[in-house]
Symmetry: C2
Subunit: 404 residues, 2 copies
């Protein structure tokens, strides 16, 4: 008998048929003798509908009241899921985030988990019940309802798996697992059986958004092994866990493409200490997350600085750059869209020649590299967006990711 | 400065425009220097939609889970109302039933209020906030969400008015107050300024459903004065309070018509002790509420027994009657619809001749009386439904209710 935590996202509980399907899936686990805790999201569409209603009343609704409002979505789903399980002959009981003891700070709409007590979940499981917990929500120490922000339900499930010492944590989603590349870009991408937290995080930060980084980080911090899999079939998914020595046999685990990037460039800034520091300090204060940076020093005592930012941050980045230019000099060039292609693998730590293979593959395919960054387990390049597909396929193939 | 509790029902918060309207109405009270607690229902339609969703999954959904589900409706409204108030420049904060300290027993879907602590409402009011409380819901001592059943939001408001020692409790609804008769039946019916709890209860039990009896009973038990008024205009409504000596100057306060009644008759039952007892005991056990009863003793040692029941109870009443007949003898006559017309007033306690005026008015209008019941402050007759309007108008006029 194992204790399993399963999380179902908004599309997996999107209507009454889907909710029935979840009940059947849980029943199969119970019939196999396991204890099951189910974490559910709001039905897909509900959260957006609530937000739209609030914005009709107030373009800048209070965050505390938004949490009170949005928590409604998951509370509806837990009750409906319990009701569906009863119809399937499964004893089940629902619990809000507060009742499940998901204790958070008071940062409304983006609360951080401080502790998970589990409430009476253990007793309910021991009494033979399936326990259905509202994801995404918690309770602050002052008794106020909070929500965890984007990807919050995944985080709820992983935190509960940790608190309950679950044997298995399954994140059911609309993809069958994590792939060596986006199959829409690289046709022969394959599903990955096992991936390390670090690789998962680097893939996420490089545009492969199966899960939010914070959930993976929480799992890594508390060593919660979890599996990403599909709620629409019974195939095994991708298991995410701590790095093991045998993982390093594979040089590159996956290739990621992020096309939501732009390159902001300032030319002719005076090349003296503190100029770059000023620019990036001001960008950070403006809340702009900078990814890649290059600086070329000209022979005339001036420098050109380029950095990549998310497309939605371009207006703020340009405004900040203009302020810095007004103080220090320089010239803002037109911002251009770029694509970021990354190869990720813990195997890079022990294998030499990864960069050579990566750049060689791009060169052979005629892809021009605009910027480069590397970390211990990742190499990324910024390239023209029109070449993103060609580049991803070339790199994927160069590292033999298309072969089993 | 007064402390006012206002309750708004589902139609009063039915869409974003209506919610804005509630915000403006509360603002007017605040601008006049008052502290305001607002109790709201679910938007009209939401509760039925949730019930329908649950029934799609399970024809007999668990009551505990139904409470978890239905509590969602009011939680949505409190958040949206707070958000609308902020847009109107009003500081406001929402509280669930649990946060407002509405403590109930664990009888899910029809919980009874055990205590009302008010939570931190007093502190919030003293800090200058409008407090918006979810009606209809509470929390059991085991931490489970409960709902109060039909008319629950009125009860929440009255219970909070009691707990907070409010100066005023206003029940906003879609009628402007309590009338001397249903204006759709009696065209010259007038709105009543002040009515006693007992009169309100007798009118409610006689078919004038402005409020559920339990809310009025709670108000009477704890001497909470409240006003029933319209959220669509600024006219004063009807104040409901303890009986005062001057109320007895009026002989009859109002006339009520209930057309949801049927008469079940058994003829030729043996006239011996215990027969009627058996019948009404069995009816009570079957959950049938009997209103009027008549028994005629024939000269042949047999009796005819008639009683009135709500139309929806007719199948159960007839089935019970058949069982009694199988044991004791007798004959079930065809059940007929009847209308019940009642005159209600605490003045009956001190005025003689009320019955004479009542029956005289009916006789003059050619209305045939089938059954009669009286209480200390009420006279009711069962008549043919086709004569209900004529009878109500005749009685209304005979007691001068059409005159100011």
């Amino acid at each position: 008998m194992a204790l399993i935590v399963q999380k179902y996202g908004g599309t997996s509980v999107g209507d009454t048929d889907r909710i029935r399907h979840v009940a059947q899936r849980v029943k199969a686990q119970r019939d196999a003798g396991h204890q099951v805790v189910v974490v559910v999201s709001a039905r897909s569409g509900v959260t957006n509908e609530l937000i739209s209603r609030a914005k009709q009343l107030n373009p800048a609704p209070d965050e505390r009241e938004m949490d009170m409002l949005l928590a409604v979505g998951e509370q509806e789903t837990i009750a409906l899921t319990a009701i569906a399980m009863h119809a399937a002959g499964l004893p089940a009981v629902s619990r809000t985030g507060a009742q499940a003891g998901i204790i958070t700070d008071a940062a409304h709409t983006r609360a951080r988990i401080l502790d998970v007590t589990g409430g009476d979940i253990k007793q309910q499981l021991d009494a033979g019940k399936v326990v259905i917990v509202a994801g995404f929500q918690g309770i602050a120490k002052n008794g106020q309802v909070t929500t965890l922000g984007r990807g919050g339900s995944d985080l709820s499930a992983i935190a509960l798996a940790w608190a309950l010492k679950a044997d298995l944590c399954q994140i059911y989603t609309d993809v069958t697992g994590v792939f060596t590349a986006d199959p829409r870009v690289v046709a022969d991408a394959r599903q990955i059986d096992v991936i390390s937290y670090d690789e998962m995080l680097e893939l996420a930060s490089s545009g492969s958004k199966v899960m939010q980084a914070r959930s993976v980080e929480f799992a890594q911090k508390y060593a919660v092994v979890f599996e990403v899999r599909s709620s629409f079939n019974d195939q095994p998914g991708t298991t995410v866990k701590n790095e093991a020595p045998n993982m390093e046999q594979v040089m590159v685990r996956g290739v990621a493409v992020d096309t939501n990037q732009a390159k902001v460039t300032i030319n002719d800034v005076p090349d003296r200490p503190g100029v770059a520091a000023q620019l990036f300090q001001d960008l950070a204060q403006a809340g702009v997350v900078v990814d890649m940076i290059i600086q070329n020093i000209g022979s005339d005592g001036h420098a050109d600085i380029s950095c990549t930012v998310a497309k939605e941050d371009v207006p703020r980045a340009e405004a900040t750059a203009r302020k810095v230019i007004a103080k220090l000099g320089g010239r803002l060039l037109p911002t251009t869209d770029i694509a970021k292609v990354s190869a990720v693998g813990v195997g890079m730590r022990t294998h030499a020649g990864v960069a050579a293979i990566f750049f060689g593959a791009l060169a052979e395919s005629g892809v021009n590299i605009l910027m480069i960054t590397t970390s211990e387990i990742k190499i990324s390049v910024a390239i023209d967006p029109s070449q993103a597909g060609v580049a991803a396929r070339a790199v994927h193939s160069a590292f033999n990711l298309d072969r089993a």
